[in-house]
Amino acid sequence: MRRFLFLTLVLMISTFVFSSQLNVAVLGEVRSLNPFLVKSAAERIVVGYLYETLLTERAGQVVGALAEDFQVDFSDNSLILKLRDRKFHDGSPLTADDVVFSFNYILQKRLPLGPILAYFTGAEKIDERTVKLKFRTMNVSMLSFAPMAIPIIPKAVWEKVEKPLEFPNIENPVGSGVLMFEKLTPQSVVMKFFKGHPDAPQGLDSMVFHIVQDETMGFLGLVKGDYDYVFWNLDPELAKQVMENPNKYPNVKVALIEGGVVNVILFNHRKSPMNDLNFRKAVLHALNYRELVEKVYSGLAEVASLGLIPKKAKAVYDESVGVVQQNVSLAKELLKNSSYDGRKLTLLVSSDRKAMDMAEYIKLYLKNIGVQVELDVQGPEGLTTRLKKADFDLALYSYSLGSHSEMVFYHLHSSRGEMRNGQVVGFNYGGVNIPELDQALQAIWIAFSEKERVEAFARLQKLLAEVVPVVPLLVPVDIEAYSVKNFTGWVVSPTEGVMNVETLKSLKPAR
């Protein structure tokens, strides 16, 4: 009996020591692993580990993933990509045929992947390791729509899938990513590291994604050591609690990472007085940015640069543009010289609690300089409807520009703000229509080389600070949390956060 006990004890200890299973928590639901129909943040995370794209992005730069590199052929609006020597999880090699199949599959099946269907015309195989992607027009954003967005799927599996819209892909999804699928339960996705992947860590065997519904519960799991990392941004107040009470939370660490989402106030340029530069500048100077950061984000946000591009996009961010200080008398002065007639303006805002809180403060600041504002609170669907119909005066909105900064084109170029059948055709909901801004945006569009890119972005950011098409408010800090109870060796990267390739490689079980 004693020997038996001893044996079990040894077994338990050994499993404890050698079990290199990373437990992470994701918020929401994992319902389907169909990479073309990702609907929730949790699914996006899991699918991102399961499948890979040809190119990817790091710190504002395009880098190779499944492809080594890319070339642009302006003569026929195409991209030529050379593939690396890689394998799918089932051991079969990833070939040009698979890539061509993946791209043509979405064309054929009309898969809902945003704008790609509008620009992409087809893929061709040049040789076993080279493919060509053809577009209607060529600009930088094609990179983000196609080789950086489309997951490469194995032809052998998917050619049998007739109706991808009814294919949840939860039986045996095969990709080429660093994690291999093992099983999906209502509460977790169990995945194993794919040793055939160049980034596969030596010290870890598997990663379990625990699906939680509730941030509080997820955080408490982290405190207990049930989870080693949580895949969502911690609430600022909670983060402060952890940072201020290290004794109460000895294992939990918080990493503050530069955020990539810029909160802005949109103006509806189709209406007066929002089309008046003096009015827009009056609004710009009326706000107390520091107070917004303190009150709404408990200090865990940064005042946004007047050039809109967040610091996170290091390669193209221009520091010299700077931020603006509140200046009520200047704002009043500007307002006097504007075409504002004293009527009540609506501020469209989503029912999200942070957004509503921010809107309340903005309403107050504007009241102080003499602008009457009324909040129009809408749920997510109502918000989109209002924006698409351009049914607002001012709106609180956010641009995700930390990666793919060139997407700013879609938010501000006049062609993206045209109205058709009573709806805005693109994402320029405010109908910004400033010719010199259009030029600056166009320049970004064709800047494929690093140098051109930096120059074009510098010009754009200076211009944005002058014409104020929108008011940049603040950039919330990404607050990541992890636990050192079971693993040590976390690598905090200022741009990529905690859960990066280096972390996976250096993690070691804690004794």
Binding site: R31, S32, L37, K39, P168, E381, T384
Partner: protein
């Protein structure tokens, strides 16, 4: 039980189901917005793609034809494809149903048994201290928000005392017997909430029935015949209480098939209630509709069974 009664009830049941299905069909068509756009989840879809989706889902046909094909699909057990799960909604719902049943049926049945004995006791000891206490607690519990009660329990037992897990159903790493233990540990608090909230109410219900029965002639006769209190309880009261109580049990469980939404939310219990919420948050209309239809149909069927059972138990019911 007469055959004609059974036939009449079956016809009634089918008619009610038809009405429920029709109402939900009308509701989903009356919705603002374009179903094709909703399916795509992206308003930027090209017009031709929209048409393709419409014809794929038969949305370009006249409403009457759509309705008939909807009914046909319904009787084949097909309620469409979920936007978020990318598979048949019926399958998704049927995966959740056992979890909700486990969550609600166990404490309801246990509660029934407890309240049966408690109710008979206080019914026979009217106006005793226990009677008054139970009635008062039952009355006060009507006003306690269940979710708040559950939150307080979580705050105390899971957060402060750490006796129970905070949420979830089974620890994913548990295997074999330990997964069963893990399930019990996870289920204990939600069970406790449902049990505590139900028992006093049931007990008062039983008590009132007992009092009615005690006043009836056959009990008086039995007393006159010289049967002891105990014999009367066993022979008459229990037999007369069990029938309605059993049918009430069926109805209760059926009523909770739609999920104990609030309790499931607090404990992250992935049953029907959370499914409804989730479908609502994601605007997954086929899933939402199917969950509701399946719940209603189950309730109607359970109702029917309860009626038939009661009729079989108690010959008086038939003539009402």
């Amino acid at each position: 039980m007469s055959f004609s009664y059974l036939v009449k009830r079956i016809v009634q049941m089918i008619l009610t189901i038809l009405v429920a299905v029709t109402v939900s069909f009308v509701l989903i068509r009356a919705l603002p917005g374009d179903p094709a756009e909703r399916f795509y989840g992206d308003p930027r879809i090209p017009e031709e793609v929209k048409q393709e989706i419409k014809s794929a889902f038969g949305l370009d046909k006249p409403v009457l034809i759509q309705y008939l094909s909807f009914l046909k699909q319904f009787f084949k057990g097909d309620l469409g494809v979920s936007y978020t799960y990318n598979r048949r909604v019926v399958g998704v719902v049927l995966e959740r149903l056992p979890w909700t049943l486990l969550l609600t049926a166990v404490p309801t049945i246990l509660g029934m048994i407890t309240s049966l004995s408690l109710g008979v006791y206080i019914g026979c000891n009217r106006n005793s201290f226990v009677d008054k206490l139970v009635r008062y607690v039952a009355f006060a519990l009507h006003s306690v928000p269940t979710f708040w009660f559950a939150l307080l329990l979580v705050l105390l037992f899971s957060f402060k005392l750490e006796w129970f897990p905070l949420q979830g159903m089974i620890d994913p790493s548990a295997r074999g017997f330990s997964s069963f233990v893990s399930l019990l540990r996870h289920a204990f608090l939600p069970w406790l909430v449902i049990f505590v909230v139900n028992v006093p109410g049931f007990a008062v219900y039983v008590r009132n029935m007992v009092i009615l029965i005690l006043n009836e002639e056959f009990v008086l006769t039995a007393k006159a015949k010289g049967l002891t209190e105990r014999q009367i309880r066993k022979r008459h009261i229990l037999r007369n209480v069990l029938g309605p109580l059993f049918s009430m049990l069926t109805l209760r469980i059926a009523g909770m098939l739609g999920g104990a939404v609030l309790i499931e939310t607090i404990f992250s219990w992935k049953g029907m209630g959370l499914l409804v919420l989730e479908a609502s948050r994601n605007s997954d209309y086929p899933l939402l509709q199917a969950t509701i239809i399946i719940t209603i149909v189950s309730i109607i069927v359970a109702n029917f069974l309860a009626d038939v059972l009661q009729a079989a138990f108690d010959p008086r019911v038939r003539f009402e």
